[in-house]
Amino acid sequence: MVWVPGVGEIPLSLSTIKGRRKSITVKRYGIVSQALLKYKPGDRIFLRGPYGTGFTLTEERNLIIGGGSGMAALRPLINDKSFGMVSAKTGDELLFTHEFKENSIMIMTDDGSSGLKGFPSDYLESVDIDQFARIYACGPELMLKALYHKLKDSRPDAEFSMERIMKCGIGICDSCSIDGRQICVDGPVVRVGEINPDGEFGHQKLDISGRRIEIHL
């Protein structure tokens, strides 16, 4: 949870984990993320955490499927043997594509402005998923939902990082829950095999007031 004093606090992932120096990667979105983007080197950053579960780290060959700023959380997983399926709305929102080896990445955009047009789930069949020791995904919930249906039988060990409103980060406020589990504590990383396709995932979530809303594209 990253706090900009006087502005607000938002959940962010570490985009560098190893070593003494860490990093976060922020997408310009609303008030807090914009305030963060004004920070200069040497400025003090206020945070608490990290909270919850992380991806299982591996040095083996892995498949990294990222949508938009979801790549921030996936970045620490990129290694020499990684294969990436990196997507975004438009080409200039693509993140960390240069961190993959040449010929180890597929790029796609919603508008086709860069790489292939479409979503990672549309192209999953074109890669042989059995070759990967681990599969990770982070991005919009509908992208995860589409991936879920393609992976649930073959790869229940694949790991998804989920997103919800997160107000407390410590399992008390219930704003982040999916099917009674607090994503800030028991997540955000969950295994595909643990997801209930008939529950809230991909269907419903609570908004900032606690009002139940449907998840649409």
């Binding site: 949870m1 706090w3 004093p5 006087g6 607000g8 606090e9 938002i10 003090r44 206020f46 608490r48 107000k167 407390c168 980060g169 410590i170 399992g171 008390i172 406020c173 219930d174 704003s175 829950s177 999916i178 099917d179 009674g180 589990r181 607090q182 504590v185 529950g199 809230e200 609570l206 900032i208 007031s209 606690g210 009002r211 139940r212």
Partner: protein
């Protein structure tokens, strides 16, 4: 044979451990999980007439011995919340609907809707900021408290609990004003705040928040003891309960049952099963067979 069952204002509970209002009770599916984890009942988040976003985060701050929060009564509004209750109610355990408002009419309407949704009781959160005064709370104005409780009692048939604020000069005057209620819930959080000396700013976006957890247990015990000594109404004890020994302390001070809030975050939902087994052990060791046998034993009458 150890019997953990209690009855409070006519509501039968399989054990004395109830989820406190505002903790893991925004989403109906979470309520289901809490009940399956051993809670004998749940109190809902405090619900108002209209949808409210609450305060901008930071809305919580962890202290070594407690938690500060200023969620700001975020809630989807009473009509939208009915869906969450409909999910939780399938567990067939009591749901206690917590409501907040600023006028007797609001409280009465909200309570009556809660009753329609099928709750077993309502809890009146009398600790929210009071629009009329300045820096004051609904719960520190005896006349308003009296009117609220009476209006609600006239409107609903389920038992009504008045949840009182610890931020008052004279709790007995407030309890006296709320005497038409079927029971009391004591206590809500203690007004407090935290400054980050490196940021040189208050940490909560609302500046002030409510302190809960271990730090306030001695304050909660004091209120329960004081009210149990002076009034003949069942009491839910709440504030800083993490172990069965904490719960026993509240019960010996006069509480019929207890509610657990902050510990659910600190320990997880399994705190309820932990409390149940610790309570059995304690009662066995100390020779108590019923929760009721411990009730109020520390009171000097």
């Amino acid at each position: 044979m150890i019997d953990l069952g209690v009855s409070i204002a006519g509501i039968d509970l399989e054990n004395p451990f109830v989820l406190a209002s505002g903790i893991l009770d925004e989403n109906g599916y979470t309520l289901v999980e809490v009940l399956r984890s051993g809670a004998s009942a749940v109190v809902t988040k405090s619900i108002g007439l209209e949808e409210r976003k609450g305060y901008i985060p930071p809305v919580v701050y962890e202290l070594p011995y407690g938690l500060l929060n200023a969620i700001g009564l975020s809630n989807p509004g009473i009509e939208h919340y009915s869906h969450e209750i409909s999910i939780a109610i399938r567990e067939k355990k009591p749901i206690i609907g917590s409501v907040f408002g600023s006028t007797p009419e609001e409280f009465a309407h909200l309570s009556s809707r809660m009753e329609d949704f099928g709750v077993s009781a309502v809890e009146l959160n009398l600790s929210c900021p009071h629009v009329k005064g300045y820096g004051q709370e609904v719960g520190s104005d005896p006349n308003l408290v009296r009117d609220i409780v009476r209006s609600v009692k006239r409107k609903v048939d389920v038992p009504v609990f008045a949840k009182l604020s610890p931020n008052v000069s004279d709790i007995q005057a407030i309890a006296e004003a709320a005497i038409d209620a079927d029971g009391f819930t004591l206590i809500n959080t203690v007004k407090a705040m935290k400054i980050d000396i490196y940021a040189r700013q208050p940490v909560l976006s609302n500046v002030y928040g409510g302190l809960s957890g271990s730090a306030i247990k001695p304050v909660g015990i004091r209120y329960v003891y004081e009210i149990a000594s002076n009034f003949d109404r069942p009491i839910f004890g709440v504030g800083g309960i993490t172990t069965a020994e904490d719960a026993v302390e509240y019960i010996m001070a006069g509480a019929s049952a207890v509610q657990v809030g902050t510990a659910v975050a600190r320990v997880g939902k399994r705190v309820f099963n932990k409390l149940i087994s610790e309570m059995r052990d304690f009662m066995e060791r100390e020779g108590f067979s019923k929760i009721g046998d411990m009730k109020g034993v520390a009171l000097r009458r």
